[in-house]
């Protein structure tokens, strides 16, 4: 907790000495792109969040912000384009083809590669979702460019390069990564890491429909079935207004019940830190942190979580962070707003009780 925030001069394996020389053929690459996931008739919120961030980058560069929409169904894609404009896109590239109804790596990466090679963006952002990661790795390898995963901060440096910051070494440090000699500069960002920009109803833009020559017969991978998740909690956790989470300070998996009880009293959702998944105390989709869910609730209560960077980057966007930990030197007190040095196993039930009482009194009074 006392580590001073000083940059390392040159860490092991650093390539800080390399020069930026952008080959001539990449100099025509311009504009910032956001790949907007559109499936089952819906736009994934992460695409809109990235438009908010992409807007800032485009403004700094003095270029346009484009959304990329790939899917099947004219009307749905048209609606999605409106959403993109209203969240900051100047133009939207739309690829509408029956083979693109369900995500498949092969046709999607063909299409995105073709768009990149045709219209030449300098920055390409994708959500670090299951889909985005599957797609980004293929496209970056095909066009032989740099791809930085799970960025937590994006900026434009003095040389108009994208500075992509992400946690490294299992989340104990942060590093800033550049793609100097190739274009586009690609990055993935997890859902909820960037704030959702305010919607500007009526804001409009251009639409460029790009025709592709795809044939179902040429695509060897077939979707046999799609079984939608019955439990939509996975989405709820990332987008919940109130989240209570537990860490190893709970001492036993049984004590997670206190976390769940408080979350339920507050009408929120619950989760935990990475060690709880590694120990098998809870399923991986409940994990909060860099390699789990990123959350931006109005209230976050961390019970018995020490607060390693890997966890910190997943919760920093919360409006109010309450930390309960027996160790007064735990790093979580460095970024929490309110700290209580106490045993979470004892304090959680007392908090649940206090909230229950207050809310029932209010209900009677109201």
């Amino acid at each position: 907790m006392t580590t001073p925030p000083k940059p390392a001069p040159a860490a092991a394996g650093s390539r800080a000495g390399m020069k930026k020389e952008l080959p001539e053929r990449f100099k025509s690459y311009q504009h910032v792109w956001v790949f907007i996931e559109y499936e089952h008739g819906e736009v994934h919120p992460v695409g809109l969040e990235l438009l908010g961030e992409g807007r800032k980058l485009a403004d700094k560069l003095g270029v346009e912000l484009a959304g990329v929409l790939v899917g099947a169904g004219r009307e749905g894609l048209r609606q999605a384009a409106v959403e993109a404009w209203e969240h900051g896109a100047d133009l939207v590239y739309v690829v509408d083809h029956p083979t693109l109804e369900h995500y498949r790596n092969d046709p999607y990466s063909q299409v995105l590669t073709e768009l990149v090679n045709t219209y030449k963006p300098e920055v390409l952002l994708l959500g670090a979702t299951v889909l985005g990661r599957d797609l980004a790795g293929s496209v970056a390898t095909t066009v032989l460019t740099g791809l930085t995963a799970d960025c937590t901060e994006l900026a434009i440096d003095d040389d108009r390069c994208l500075a992509a910051t992400r946690p490294t070494f299992g989340g104990s440090l942060l590093c800033t990564i550049f793609t100097l000699n190739t274009r586009p500069q690609m990055a993935t960002i997890r859902p909820r890491v960037m704030a959702m920009p305010p919607r500007q109803p009526g804001r409009t833009g251009r639409l460029i429909e790009h025709k592709v020559a795809l044939h179902e017969a040429d695509i060897v991978t077939k979707v046999l079935r799609f079984v939608a998740d019955r439990d939509s909690s996975k989405a709820q956790l990332a987008y919940a207004d109130i989240v209570v989470a537990g860490g190893l300070g709970l001492r036993s998996p049984e004590n997670l019940q206190h976390v769940r009880a408080l979350a339920s009293a507050l009408g929120g959702d619950w989760g935990g830190s990475r060690p709880l998944v590694q120990k098998g105390w809870m399923p991986a989709d409940r994990q909060i942190g860099q390699t789990g869910k990123t959350i931006r609730p109005k209230l976050y209560i961390a019970a018995g979580i020490s607060g390693a960077i890997q966890h910190r980057v997943g919760v920093e966007g919360a409006d109010l962070i309450i930390a309960i930990n027996t160790d007064p030197h735990a790093p979580i007190f460095d970024f929490a707003h309110l700290g209580i040095v106490a045993d979470a196993v004892e304090l959680l039930p007392a908090l649940t009780e206090a909230f229950r009482k207050r809310l029932s009194v209010n209900r009677l009074a109201g």
């Binding site: 599957d134 942060l174 109201g366």
Partner: protein, 284 residues
Amino acid sequence: MHIVVCIKQVPDSAQIRVHPVTNTIMRQGVPTIINPYDLFALEEALRLRDKVGGEVTVLTMGPPMAEDALRKALGIGANRGVLLTDRFFAGSDTLATSFALAQAVRKIGETWGAPEVVFTGKQTIDGDTAQVGPGIARRLGLNQLTYVAAINAIDLEAGTIAVARRAEGGVQELSTKLPALITMLEGTNEIRRGTVPDVLRAARAKIEVWNAAAAGITEVGMCGLRGSPTVVKRVFAPTPRAAKAEQVEAKDRPYEAVAEDVMERIFAAQPAMEAELMRTAAGY
């Protein structure tokens, strides 16, 4: 059938420490393990081999000491270990890593038969990028199946495979043609304990050690630092917030009183929350 499993030796992340002054990683004395996500890939490969027959070759790229990871994999039941190690590979990012590994898989195919399936874990615990698997698939033209939860069917004669994979908002059941690359989802199987004969064999087994040339890599410009489009410019510790957390005193006080205090502070900081909670509690 021939199956190749790509694994990585990683530092046990639970034991990594950062030097408080220089912000560099203190690697000394940190034990190494096989990337935990790769164990699901290895186990799935062994199950497939046990079912349809054939061989499992385990491939890793890393420093000479990464041989330990291969020996562990042999002890668990893999048939053959290949270590790709060369100073040309130092400083590889994910693009350069997938280039070297893809070349090595190609060479493995020429030497012991083309693999029908290449497995990787879904990501590593040190890099956490999930980019190398898709990179290998793309370079070798393998049909890419990421985040696979189960292999539902494989037909070597027809050259087809069917899997269930984690997709956005649900599970996608796919069929595709072999050869394919599978990245295995965590928690989908349990790694076996090696048999006594396997463990004994692993200790004495000859590990194939390949440098770039032995793996058939002539374009060293595609490897290591030179082959890596991404450049790490700065490594740093995060800034602590200017203000430390405000404290609610808990020492020698009943938990009920502390809880009351905490609740009041929450409502003071989030004035709209109490009304919202009340509405929810009332069932509106």
